[in-house]
């Protein structure tokens, strides 16, 4: 293993679900994730954005090993085959969920919720476990005596701190955060965002930050990937994505955020809604909603990535054929 080995490397990852269409209509394939290649480096935060149904949560679950992968590769720290060694895999990657009310066991004390994983991962000494739980609770800004209490005694923001502590206690190298702040109140969001960034710097843990909130993603990410109907359509350094977005979809996403500081700036509307992943449009999947679509977008097949800079690429026919029109 070299220092340059990414914490996570996805190669042409596909997650397809068979869907029964109703009696007599046979089966179809829902292509939730359809050929995604991505790297996340050590201590890096990758923001993954897209509308609901674009496959971002399926991607997260595949990384966690929670859904079967149809094809492609997932390498964690360069290792692909974890076989039956699920514990070792779990030490590599942990997850924080959206809803802190349903992701903590209401019948376990916080100490049990945090100590359980430690025990499972071979910390057999009880007082050592208690020490590590207390240290972790302090790290996420809670009083160590929280260990003796139960989830219902905590507010939403505090529970999300506990969920973060539980994810970090086995010292993973990657934490998958699926909309970690969208269930929280505005005044609490800033606390959790600041906490995640502090812990990322302090512990050097990499984050896969999934969110529909571009403001949150811009604030937190080192790199950003934009997903549309199962594919990454643009990927790059956060500055590039926000200052020079290349894909029309990225541009509309950014323009659809109301900017209160500039109330006169027009906001852009996107035509129609995202098509179903069961029947994605031919050609570029975005063309029915794209204001700049031309012949190649409908007939030219799925556009390949065009490299725009060192760390910036997008899949759009405008960048290849469109440029010579």
């Amino acid at each position: 293993m070299t220092e340059a080995e990414p914490v996570l490397r996805l190669q042409d990852l596909k997650v397809h679900y068979p869907v029964r269409l109703g009696h007599g209509f046979g089966k179809s394939m829902l292509r939730a994730v359809d050929g995604v290649s991505l790297d996340i480096g050590r201590g890096e935060c990758l923001g993954l954005v897209g509308e609901s149904g674009c496959g971002k949560s399926s991607l997260a679950q595949a990384v966690m090993g929670l859904v079967p992968v149809s094809s492609g590769r997932i390498a964690l720290n360069g290792r692909e085959d974890w076989g039956a060694d699920r514990l070792a895999r779990a030490r590599m990657v942990q997850m924080v969920f959206q809803d802190p009310f349903s992701s903590l066991n209401p019948r376990q004390s916080i100490g049990q919720s945090l100590g359980g994983p430690l025990k499972l991962h071979g910390v057999t000494n009880r007082s050592e476990r208690e020490d590590r739980v207390a240290t972790m609770l302090r790290k996420v800004g809670l009083n160590p005596d929280a260990a003796g209490r139960h989830p219902h005694e905590f507010s939403g923001g505090q529970r999300q701190r506990i969920a973060i502590a539980r994810a970090l206690i086995v010292e993973p190298q990657l934490v998958v955060c699926d909309e970690p702040v969208s269930a929280l109140d505005v005044s609490i969001r800033a606390q959790i965002i600041n906490l995640l960034l502090e812990l990322k710097d302090e512990l050097g843990v990499a984050l896969l930050m999934i969110s529909h909130d571009l403001g949150v993603v811009e604030h937190m990410s080192d790199r950003i990937a934009v997903m549309y109907l199962g594919r990454i359509v643009e990927e790059g350094d956060w500055r590039k994505i926000f200052t020079a977005p290349a894909h029309p979809y990225t541009r509309t996403l950014i323009a659809s955020i109301p900017d209160p500081a500039r109330p006169d700036a027009g906001w852009e509307r996107l035509r129609g809604e995202a098509p179903s992943a069961l029947a994605p449009p031919a050609g570029c999947a975005f063309h029915p909603r794209c204001a700049q679509a031309f012949g190649a977008c409908r007939a030219g097949g799925v556009p390949e990535f065009t490299g725009l800079a060192d760390d910036h690429r997008a899949r759009c026919h405008l960048l290849t054929e469109g440029a010579s029109r």
Binding site: E51, S187, L214, G215, M220, P263
Partner: protein, 325 residues
């Protein structure tokens, strides 16, 4: 009679627990003129939805209006019989809720649900109501309205369902539309379309809008005036274009600072977001003083002793804070 469509005077809504009243909303004053769009912002539990429900006469036990008046076009809601209240709702006041899936009846076609409004409030027959329903669907830009009128809610996407909700709400040209987080359940790309649609239709008819949201950015972008609630008190009200640029109450300032805004990182760097420490108090724990005092960074000795009065801001607007006494 004044021109105000809605006039809320010194409204107090109490939660009755074991025979004792605990005020959940206290001393709220708010007026909305014809054609005006007013935003009501706050975190969950601040009383913004309770205020809206009381306007529509929809409060249920253990919540009840214990003080103050609500006038709709000069009529006192509290003095109306259930029967006249029912004919007021849907006709003069309409509501759009956050979740279009649960607000629509899954067993009725959308045509019947829209048509119902014309049957109940306009006395139309079935055939005329169906015609009116198709016209209403057309008005909210549902493509192929004549076909779609026989669809059931489950056949529609989230954005289309919200359009149907808007068609129902605006069917009888109400004087006041209450929109309770109308786009929170939708993707950001759909949000702009839905909001624009609501505003366009209301502008045409001169309908007043009370827009309830936790999203200060959205509200500041689309409203004429914005009122901020915290723990049952209306703590600040200003013109929309000012509230974001010069918030005066420490809580409003905190909300503005806690928001990761697009473009902010480019100019200000990844500096920590302003946190509002602590959490919102529970209704039963509301103390005597300013309810924001325990979380306020500029708290003074007398803040905890008494509730500040509402005072006028020199540049227009109102505030409830000792710093501005």
């Amino acid at each position: 009679m004044s021109d105000d469509v809605l006039r809320i005077e010194d409204l107090t809504i109490a939660l009755r627990v074991e025979g004792r009243d605990h005020p959940a909303v206290e001393g709220v004053n708010l007026t909305i003129g014809r054609g005006e769009v007013v935003g009501l912002v706050g975190e969950s539990g601040c009383g913004k939805s309770l205020t809206a429900l009381s306007v529509a006469g929809l409060l249920t036990a253990p919540m009840h209006v214990s003080n103050g008046r609500i006038l709709i076009e000069g009529q006192d809601v509290a003095r109306l019989s259930n029967r006249s209240l029912r004919s007021l709702r849907g006709d003069r006041i309409a509501m759009i809720f956050q979740e279009p899936m649960t607000a629509l009846n899954p067993l009725m076609t959308i045509g019947d649900q829209i048509g119902e409004m014309f049957v109940l409030h306009r006395g139309l027959g079935a055939r005329a109501a169906r015609k009116a329903a198709i016209a209403a669907l057309d008005r909210v830009q549902v493509p192929g309205a004549a076909r779609r009128v026989d669809d059931y809610p489950h056949q529609l996407s989230g954005g289309m369902r919200q359009r149907v909700m808007i068609a129902i709400a605006l069917a009888c040209d109400p004087a006041l539309l209450i929109a309770d987080e109308p786009t929170t359940a939708l993707d950001v790309t759909i949000q702009a379309e839905i909001i624009d649609l609501i505003l366009e239709l209301c502008r045409e008819q001169g309908t007043a809008v009370l827009m309830i949201s936790h999203d200060l950015g959205l509200v500041a972008r689309i409203c004429n005036r914005v009122a901020v609630m915290y723990a049952g008190h209306l703590i600040e009200e200003q013109a929309a274009e000012r509230i974001f640029l010069s918030p005066h109450h420490p809580y409003t300032r905190g909300l503005v600072g806690a928001l990761p805004r697009l473009g902010r990182r480019l100019t200000e760097g990844q500096a920590a977001l302003t946190e509002i420490p602590g959490t919102v108090p529970a209704i039963l724990d509301y103390g005597a003083g300013c309810r924001f005092a325990p979380r306020c960074t500029r708290v003074m000795a007398h803040c905890a002793a008494a509730t500040p009065e509402t005072t006028q801001l020199p540049q227009g607007g109102r505030i409830r804070c000792f710093l501005h006494d």
